[in-house]
């Protein structure tokens, strides 16, 4: 087993991130409290460099490296760049919030980078063990991030819950993978698929494995009925961490679904099976997510349920089980990550020392306090609700189109009715910001970077909505280049 230069070239961005995590960890030891910003800058530089490297080295076809463990294809490139960008934005948005709570230190940056590395590995996995490795790296980093604020009871409780349920899900996944291995004798994704295609796999065992894998996927996506951890973790974790959990991992989870269900278990007989299972998960997620979100008074919890419903939408694209649908789901994941970042960024913006701004009332009368941020939040909320001309509409359009094209009009109707219910709680946010008088009149303070980035983030929800073609085409090309 020798590694060639081509192998290293393919994993270059991952190596860079790993090395830089170690560097930051060491450098941080020698920094005084006032110099923490060096770690911050290094983390941002790392993410930017990784994204740049991926973009520069991006190649049209599939490159398999590290003896079949790792794959570099357009899908991986697009998602990894998105993950790096999202993680970078998270770090920028978190600065003020983390500083006020004593979280602005080396551990935070390292854990975020480790999580990003885990996602990159997951996205590029060509081997079931690699997939699992990436997932665990991501999950363990996230557990630690949630618990980072160690004197907070809520955060500790959330971390505990997250860990126990996450470990259970990982167990299910691993068990499912072992079944697949038992049925096919392979762990490398293309080889597993080939074995199944040749009909040399025991279908009973395969089916058994498939059920466990779908359950594991459901956990990681936070789809109903495996969603119980989502609201508690979102609410309990420090908002900066919630923002991270709520955005980047969804991109990785999409890749996870693609690698596991589409690439590994893409044989027509199996597709028919997991389509049914995912349909149930999707419909239940849409229903529970949207209805339960109405009852929430805590914004983070509301966004948690809203995430559940968004994952239902994302699954709709996968259910269509054709390249168009996968492209739509990928577009949905990207759009969701973007709007999610903006919405959590807004909570961070309003938060102050000792004040979380995570209740719905905290947004009352925002239009009076700051018309600009109220306008941005308005765009983000309408985007989440899927009202044109914001980008969220096109995301929903794309997945619903895929479902209709797959001949499941009833599913499309269910989806739009659920999004109607969903529109209510997004409208309620707009109502609080625009129709009500402010109860909190403290001035909004944030550093320049956050202001600019948040403005770009909010306006992007409109701008990409006016010209959505390029991002849709990009997602479509990534999918077509990888399947």
């Amino acid at each position: 087993m020798t590694l060639s230069a081509a192998d290293y070239l393919a994993v270059w961005p991952e190596i860079l991130v790993l090395v830089m995590v170690c560097v930051i960890l060491v450098v941080d030891l020698f920094l005084r409290e006032s110099q923490r910003v060096i770690g911050y800058a290094l983390a941002l530089a790392t993410l930017a460099a990784a994204a740049g490297l991926i973009a520069l080295s991006s190649m049209p076809g599939r490159v398999v490296a590290l003896n079949g463990m790792f794959v570099d294809d357009p899908l991986a490139d697009a998602l990894k760049i998105a993950v790096c960008l999202v993680a970078g934005v998270v770090v920028v948005y978190s600065r003020g919030y983390a500083t006020a709570r004593g979280l602005f230190k080396g551990e935070f940056f390292c854990l975020v980078l480790f999580a990003a590395l885990g996602m990159m590995v997951m996205i590029s996995a060509n081997h079931l063990l690699m997939l699992y490795l990436g997932l665990e790296l991501l999950s363990l980093s996230l557990y630690a991030l949630v618990a980072l604020q160690r004197d907070s009871r809520d955060a500790t409780e959330a971390a505990m819950k997250y860990f126990v349920l996450g470990a259970l899900a990982s167990g299910l996944l691993l068990y499912g993978m072992s079944m697949i291995y038992g049925a096919t004798g392979q762990l490398e994704i293309p080889k597993v698929a080939a074995t199944i295609a040749e009909g040399r796999a025991n279908s009973t065992i395969l089916m058994f494995g498939l059920v466990f894998l779908v359950a594991g996927v459901g956990f990681k996506l936070g789809a109903v009925p495996f969603h119980m951890w989502v609201p508690d973790v979102y609410q309990g974790a420090p908002t900066a961490v919630t923002m991270f959990i709520g955005t980047a991992p969804k991109l990785a989870a999409f890749a996870f679904v693609m690698r596991l269900l589409v690439e590994t278990l893409g044989a027509p007989a199996l597709v028919a099976e997991w389509r049914q299972m995912l349909t149930l998960l999707a419909v239940a997620s849409l229903a529970v997510g949207n209805v339960a979100a109405i009852a929430q008074t805590n914004l983070k919890r509301m966004l948690a349920y809203s995430t559940i419903s968004h994952m239902g939408f994302l699954l709709l694209g996968v259910i269509a089980a054709r390249p168009d649908g996968y492209g739509a789901a990928m577009f949905y994941a990207m759009v969701y990550a973007m709007t999610g970042l903006g919405a959590f960024g807004m909570i961070l913006l309003l938060a102050r020392d000792g004040f979380e701004a995570d209740r719905l009332e905290d947004f009352k009368g925002l239009n009076r306090r700051s018309p600009w941020y109220a306008f941005l939040m308005l765009l983000l909320m309408f985007s989440m609700a899927g009202v044109p001309p914001t980008v969220g509409f096109y995301a929903k359009l794309a997945v619903i189109e895929a479902v209709v094209q797959a001949g499941q009009v009833w599913l499309a109707i269910v989806a739009v009715l659920m999004s109607l219910i969903g529109a209510f709680y997004y409208l309620r946010m707009v109502k609080l910001m625009y129709f009500d008088e402010p109860s909190d009149t403290a001035p909004i303070s944030a550093d320049m970077g956050v202001r600019v980035l948040l403005s770009i983030n909010g306006l992007a929800a409109l701008a990409v909505g006016l010209l959505p073609g390029w991002l849709m085409a990009l997602c479509q090309k990534a999918i077509q280049g990888s399947l």
Partner: protein, 491 residues
């Protein structure tokens, strides 16, 4: 020159410029800038009028550019006579609304004016779009500014009204979206209206699509029984919001029926015309009676709007040249008349802060000029010959007689009910003894209000006395529509 693009985007960018003036310290700047923007929007429509070929069939001023490659969606614009009239009505109403809000709106002036300008551009987009997805985007986007206008500057129950308005209209639109996606696939991957017009569809598919379209447009029109959002929205909205809602927003529904239901699913439209005619007659008769008993002036006018829009849907689904042309004229006339009536109520409300009929009486003693204007608009609402209100109603009733006598007889009751509720309200508000010291202290119209009501009065009379130019513009598109509706699309 891309004239239609200008017609759409000039008001929108003007709105954004107004928004940029910021807080109420610059309210004056915001007002003048908004007026300039509204006038610029109207001015942008001038080439549409001068360059329009009345006799030509098909779409004029066409523009086409690829917008979303992935779904082959085009930024495809074009207008015919129907769109032209509605765009002109819209641009004109926007100017009125800006002037109407000049003094009344004191809080967040820039946002108020900007919302109307943006909305105006979006509505123009709806009337000019030749691609179903583009249409849908404009159609839905108009909800956002109107939602904010009702919710921010509305009356005491504004939150309820705004959310009800939004969700009611959203549900219909979402069903339409599914139908559009179905059609997109049936047409082999195109949202272009021309392609959708050509796509053959089975009767079952046509029926389903028709019902989805009806869900979207019936809520907008609004037709009985999905009309209940309208009185709430009207009552709570500020005067400008009511005017735009009545004059323009309701027309989106009628326009949608003409552009989508009839040509895309002609067989289902014929088969289910009885349903629509039935619902329209319920609107005309029952809602007319409901209007009679209202104690709130705005609510009364809102119900009268529903009854009048019942005439529009009735005229459209008679599949008769006279009826369809009458329906479109009725839409335009209703834009003038109901807009004017809401402005009249606004004039009173600004002075006394009450919309209750019971709080008024003897207003003519203090406001004779206003009473004269109000009289004209009340008569137009009742359908008096010589006013614009008569033309459309008369044509629709004539067409109905050709189709079925009893339909015509029921439809004609509107002339009685319309006169009854409008004139009875007029009598209670304007005539009689001076009701209270507050009424005794009323001041007659100021120049700004004179201008608004004068312009509308002139148009109402012009259209009533000389409807020929309006009819001429509608001739070609109505023939084409009827031809499309008569062509079976069954495979």
């Amino acid at each position: 020159m891309p004239i239609l693009t200008l017609v759409i985007w000039v008001p929108i960018f003007a709105g954004l410029a107004v928004l940029a003036t910021g807080s109420d310290r610059n309210a004056g700047t915001a007002r003048w800038l908004a007026l300039a923007g509204a006038l610029a929007g109207l001015l942008a429509c001038v080439p549409l009028v001068t360059g329009f070929h009345v006799a030509a069939s098909g779409m004029q001023f066409a523009e086409k550019a690829l917008w979303i490659e992935r779904y082959r969606v085009h930024y495809h614009l074009g207008i015919d006579g129907i769109s032209l009239l509605l765009i002109l009505l819209n641009a004109f109403t926007t100017v009125l609304v800006v002037i109407a809000g000049w003094k009344v709106i004191e809080q967040r002036v820039a946002q108020y004016m900007a919302a109307f300008l943006v909305m105006s551009g979006l509505m123009n987009g709806v009337f000019a779009a030749r691609d179903a997805l583009l249409f849908f985007v404009f159609f839905e986007a108009t909800l956002i500014p109107l939602f904010l206008v009702i919710g921010v500057w509305g009356g005491p129950n504004r939150v309820y009204a705004a959310i009800k308005f939004f969700l009611y209209t959203l549900i219909g639109s979402l069903l339409m979206l599914v139908a559009l996606l179905y059609l997109y696939n049936a047409a082999g991957g195109s949202f272009d209206l021309e392609d959708l017009y050509r796509t053959p569809l089975s009767m079952a598919a046509q029926t389903a699509v028709f019902l989805a379209f009806l869900a979207a447009f019936a809520v907008k029109v609004p037709m009985w029984p999905v009309h209940t959002w309208l009185p709430d929205a009207h009552v709570e909205a500020p005067t400008g919001g009511s005017v735009v809602l009545a004059a323009i927003a309701l027309k989106l529904g009628g326009y949608g029926l003409l552009r989508f239901s009839l040509p895309i699913v002609p067989d289902a439209s014929h088969a289910l015309s009885g349903l629509v005619i039935g619902l329209s007659l319920v609107a005309v008769v029952y809602i007319g009676l409901v209007a009679l008993v209202q104690a709130d002036m705005k609510k009364l006018i809102a119900y009268s709007s529903i009854a009048h829009m019942g005439f529009v849907t009735l005229g459209v689904f008679l599949f008769d040249r006279l009826g369809m042309q009458g329906a479109i004229l009725q839409m335009i006339s209703h834009g003038f008349v109901s807009g004017a009536l809401f402005l009249c109520v606004g004039v009173l409300y600004d002075r006394l802060h009450s919309r209750q009929i019971a709080d008024y009486g003897g207003v003519v003693n203090r406001m004779p000029v206003f009473a004269a204007f109000f009289m004209l608009f009340a008569m137009a609402n009742a359908g008096l010959p010589g006013t614009s209100g008569f033309v459309g109603e008369f044509m629709v009733v004539l067409a109905a007689v050709k189709v079925n006598f009893w339909v015509a007889a029921l439809a004609a009751t509107t002339l009685i009910f319309g006169a009854a509720y409008t004139l009875w309200m007029y009598k209670r508000v304007i005539f009689g003894a001076v009701a209270s010291p507050a009424v005794a202290g009323l001041q007659d119209l100021e120049p700004r209000e004179w201008l608004l009501l004068g312009l509308l009065a002139a148009l109402t009379l012009f259209m009533g006395l000389y409807p020929a130019p309006f009819n001429a513009v509608l001739e070609a598109p109505v023939s084409e529509l009827l031809a499309q509706a008569a062509r079976s699309k069954l495979p």
